[in-house]
C-alpha cells in the first residue's frame, strides 16, 4: 500500500493536535494534544521506515515514545504543582512570567 494515505493521516492528526493546543485552555487537554502531535509524527516515521525498507524510523518512533513518557511525567508534575497553588489548570492563567 502506498505510503501517501498514512502520511495524509499523520498530517491530519498532527494539525488536529496543533489545533487542540491552540484552542483548548485546559492544560491537560493541551498537553494531550501535544501527545497527539507526537503520535502523528511517529506514524510518519513508521510509514517512512517501511517505505525505505529500514528500521531507523521505527527506532526513532520508539525513542519518541520514551521521551514522551519522560516529558509527560515532568509536565504533569508541573501541572499538578500549578494546580495546587493556583487552583486552576488553565494555561491562560499561567501567564505571570509576562511583565
Amino acid at each position: 500500500m502506498s505510503p501517501t494515505p498514512y502520511l495524509v493521516l499523520a498530517t491530519l492528526l498532527f494539525t488536529i493536535g496543533g489545533a487542540g493546543v491552540l484552542l483548548r485552555r485546559n492544560a491537560l487537554v493541551a498537553f494531550m494534544s501535544v501527545e497527539l502531535m507526537l503520535n502523528a509524527a511517529n506514524l510518519a516515521f513508521v510509514t517512512f521506515a517501511r517505505m525505505h525498507g529500514n528500521l531507523d524510523g521505527q527506532i526513532m518512533a520508539f525513542f519518541v515514545m520514551v521521551i514522551a513518557a519522560a516529558e509527560v511525567v515532568v509536565g504533569l508534575a508541573i501541572i499538578v504543582m500549578i494546580f495546587r497553588t493556583r487552583r486552576s489548570a488553565s494555561v491562560d492563567d499561567a501567564s505571570l512570567l509576562k511583565l
Binding site: R25, A30, S95
Partner: protein, 647 residues
Amino acid sequence: MNSIMTHGLAAQAEVHQVVRDASGLISSTWLLIAFPLLGAAVLLLGGRRLDKTGHLIGTAASCLSFVMAVALFVAMLGESGDARAFNVPLWEWFNAAGYQVEVGLLLDQLSMAFVLLITGVGSLIHVYSIGYMEHDERRRRFFGYLNLFVAAMLLLVLASDYLILFIGWEGVGLASYLLIGFWQHKPSAAVAAKKAFVVNRVGDMGMVLAIASMIVVFGSSSFELVFAGAGDAPTSWLNALGLLLLLAACGKSAQFPLQSWLLDAMEGPTPVSALIHAATMVTAGVYLVVRSAAIYDLAPEARTAVVLVGTITLLMGAIIGCAKDDIKKALAGSTMSQIGYMMLAAGLGPAGYAFAIFHLITHGFFKANMFLGAGSVMHGMNDEVNMRRFGGLRAAMPVTFLTFALGYLAIIGIPPFAGYFSKDKIIEAAFADNILIGLCALIGAGITAFYMTRVMLMTFLTSKRWAEDVHPHESPRVMTWPLIGLAALSLVGGAALLYVGGGIVEWLEPVTGEEHHDLPLPVAALIAITLVVVVAGVAVAWLLYGRRPVPVEAPAGNPLTVAARRDLYGDAVNEAVLMRPGQYLTRSLVYVENRGVDGAVIGAAKAVGGLSARWRRWQTGFVRSYALTMLTGAGLVVVAMLLVRLP
C-alpha cells in the same frame, strides 16, 4: 632668596658613608620593631582576659624596645665614626620585572637618634599612660594601639626602602587615626580622627607619587640605589621628587598647607598628643626630608619650598598658639611652630639637617614634657582644658608646675635649657642663609616666648578661676615620674646633645654632611638679640596676662586674635579653596553625569523600553498565542522551502 639656592649647589659634598651589612647584635635590629608589634598583636587579639595586665604588657614591650635601642646604641658607639651605618636585610618581598623590593632595615646615626627618641619618650609616655588611662575601660586596647604606633614609627625610621618606609608611614597614620578617635563616642573625636586621616591621605598621595617617580627614574625605591642614582638624575625630576616628598612631609608633620588636622587631633587622649602629635609622628616629615638629603641637596628649588613652608608654618603655629585658650591646642600650635623650625632647618640643606634633628630631639623632650604636664593638669582638673578656668595651680600641683616650668624655659630658649641650644642653632643657620628667613625665625622665637608665657601664667600663676566642683590635686607617681624624667631631659638634654662626645652634629655628620656659613653678624650678638626678643615676648605676656586678672570668658579681641582663634582661617581656607570648588566640581560633574551621560544612556534605555513596551503586546503571556505563532512560522518555513525547492 637666591642666596639659598646658590649655596645649595655648593652642598654637593660626598657625605654618604659606606653602609655595611650588619652582624652580631646589630643584625637583631628587627627586634626593635618586633617587641611592640608583638605587644600590639597580643593586646589586640588577646581579648578581655588581658584587661588586667594589658597596660603592663604594652609598657614592657615598649621598654624592651628601648633597652634594645640602648644596646644597639652602645654597639654603634663601639664603631668608628664613619662606619656606623648598617644594613639589616630581612627577606626579599617581591621581585617583579626588575623592580625588586628587599625588606630590610637601615640602622645608621640618623635612625639611631630617632629610635632612641621614639623608644625612650615612648616608654615614658607608656608609663605615664598607665596612670592617665587608669579609669578607662578600654585601656588594654589603648596600649595595643600605642604599641602598634611605636612599631610602625620604628619601621618608618628604620626602613631601608621608601616602600617599606611607606608601610610604617601608613602604619603611624593608622595608629594616629585609631588613637585620635580613641574616644569614639565623642563625635568631635570621631570627626577629628577622620579629618586627620583624610588630610594625611593628601600627603600620602605625594608619597606614593614620589615612590612611583623613583621607580621610574631610578628603577628602585631603596635608599641605597635612589641616593646613588640621584647624582645622575635630571634636576627637574629631583625637584619634582623633592616637592612630592615635601607634600608627604607636610601631611604628616602638619605643615602649611596641610596643617589643619593637628589642632583637631587634640581630641585624642593626652598621652597620644604627647607621643604622636608632639614628639614622634609629626616629626616623620622632618625625618623624611633629612633622610632624603641626597635628593634635596641636588634640588635647590625643592629645598626653597621646604624653607618657605617651614617659615610660614612656624609663624602660623606661633600666632595660633597665642590665641588659643585650650591648653592642648595652644601646645599644638606651638608644636606646629616648632616643627616649622625643624622644616626650615631641614630646608637649609647640610647646614641645617643636623640642627633640625637636634631641635627635633630636644623638642621631643620638652614638648612631651609639657603635653604630659598639660595632661596632668587636666587629670587634676576634671579634664578641663580651658586655661581661663585654670590659674594658680602652682600650689595645687607642684611637681607638675615645676616640670612644666622646665619645659617652658626650654621651649622659649632660655639658656642653658635644651631649647636654647637647638633653636639658637636654627636661627643662626637661618640668618646665615638669608636675613629675611632669619628675621622670621627670630620673630617666631619672640612669639613663642609670648604664648608660652601666656600658657604658664594662665595655668599656674595668676589667680584661681576654676569651677567650684573642681579640686585640683597632684597626679599619682606613675604620672609624675615620667614628667620628672622628661623635665630632666629638657633641662640637660640640649647641652648634653650638643657637647657630649662631639655632640649630635658630629654624630650625624656622616649622614647629613656638614657645612658652615658665615653669619652676617657675630654669634654672640645674635644670641643676645635672640634673648632680648625672647625676654620681650615674656614681658609682653606678663603685661597682658600677669598683671591683669584673666577674664573667665574670652574677650572679643582684635582681628588677628580672632583669626588666630580660628586657626588663621586654615579650615576656612581649606573649605573655600578646596572643599567648595570641589563640591561645585562634583555637583557640576554629577549634573553632567545625570543629564549628559546618564541622559544619553537613560534616553537610549527609555527609547528601547518604550519600543519594547510596544512590542511587548506581542508577548501576551498566553501559551496558546505563542503556539499559534510557532505554527504559523512552521507553516511559513514549509512554504519557503516549497518555493525554493519546487519549480
